[in-house]
């Protein structure tokens, strides 16, 4: 029973992270569009610190999501 609960917790965390990553990356894309960048950008430390910070957050969230996905796979949940 507790195993089941853990899986549900992991799933919930997984989807929470996914939503956070998408929300943050949409926000970053919007900010860059405001700055006149389309398609991509090389961000300059000092000028784009706020965006760099958000991208680092996205990276950390994604890495955590990949980790949780692996745990879910180990637990036999492969269809997340």
């Amino acid at each position: 029973m507790s195993g089941r609960v853990d899986v549900e917790k992991l799933k919930s965390k997984y989807y929470g992270l996914k939503s956070a990553v998408l929300r943050k990356s949409r926000h970053v894309s919007g900010r860059l569009r405001e700055k006149g960048f389309e398609g991509g950008a090389i961000l300059v430390p000092g000028e784009d610190d706020d965006l760099i910070s958000e991208l680092n957050d996205i990276y950390s969230l994604s890495v955590e999501r990949i980790r949780i996905k692996k745990e879910l796979e180990k637990a036999g949940v492969g269809d997340v």
Binding site: V21, S25, V28, S29, G39, G40, I52, L55, I66, R67
Partner: protein
Amino acid sequence: MMCNCYGLTRVTDRCTDICDSLSTYYSMRDQLMSQVTMTPLNLRYKVADVARKISSEILTQLDLITYNLKTLHSKYIVAERPGYEMLEAHPPSVKFSFPDDPRLLKEYTAGTRTVTAPRMPEMTPVPEKLVVYPVLESVMASSVMVVSVKGSYANPDYSDGSNDYHAQGYVWTLSPQFLPITYKYRYFCYLTDQGYVPVHGTYHRFQLDATPIETGICEAEVKVVQTVRKMIQLKDQYDNTLCYVFISHNKASAKFVDLEGRLPKQGSDVVTYHIDLDSVTAGGCDRVRYIYISGITYELLRGHNIFLIIMRPGDQYAFEQPLHMMLVIESFVAE
């Protein structure tokens, strides 16, 4: 060659100028060809010499312009059209040697331990779209390309061949205040007399000084002192994100053991590429198949999310192979 300035946000004008010149010369060449074709056969020899000279000049100019355009594209971010010539100059040469890939199993179990996998024609379709994300030159000079194969992202009801998916990418450096970062990498390994060797990776005399965590799983530390990160979002035609590709290009140091036992354990500066694939939809990253780094195209094994490429400066050029490439089970920051 079609001209495409998409993604070259900061150098749009320069790119447009080059594109204009390119189209001018192409149209001149077309005009010349039609002139020659329209000349009656018995008079064609009279215009042939002139045509050859003009044609040669045009071709020289075209080469120059194409070179400028490629330089521009390789220096900046670009999402390219199908069949871009840059790829033809660097056809995929698969370098991963994975024993669980049935095509490679025979070679692996035969004990050849070669690092260069045989060319596998069925696995090297010409990738039709390239996304180029160069490293900031001032930080580390190298070009890294994620190559994904165009395919099933498109809505089958409507596709004009150009909108199957598109990419958005960012490159940034990590501030010194967040560095150094010591990463721990866990990977499948097996024990030899002199040390642990990764199962999913290339063989090299010098191996990471690994600690066995449990049977068949090793852990090794890599201390990163400088890093350039890239995030690439692959999106479908409706702007839904399908996959995030993160590439960390790091200057780092790690401890190595000599499998021949002649040299003691030693620390070494290394360059690492840490690749994370994060699928937002099921199979969203399946089309990210290759990564191109400084002249070598690496195939990423499907269905896996974390890869690590480690090379010591000079090794890649000396041996035409990286020091290590490995499939990582797990990576995390050391406490």
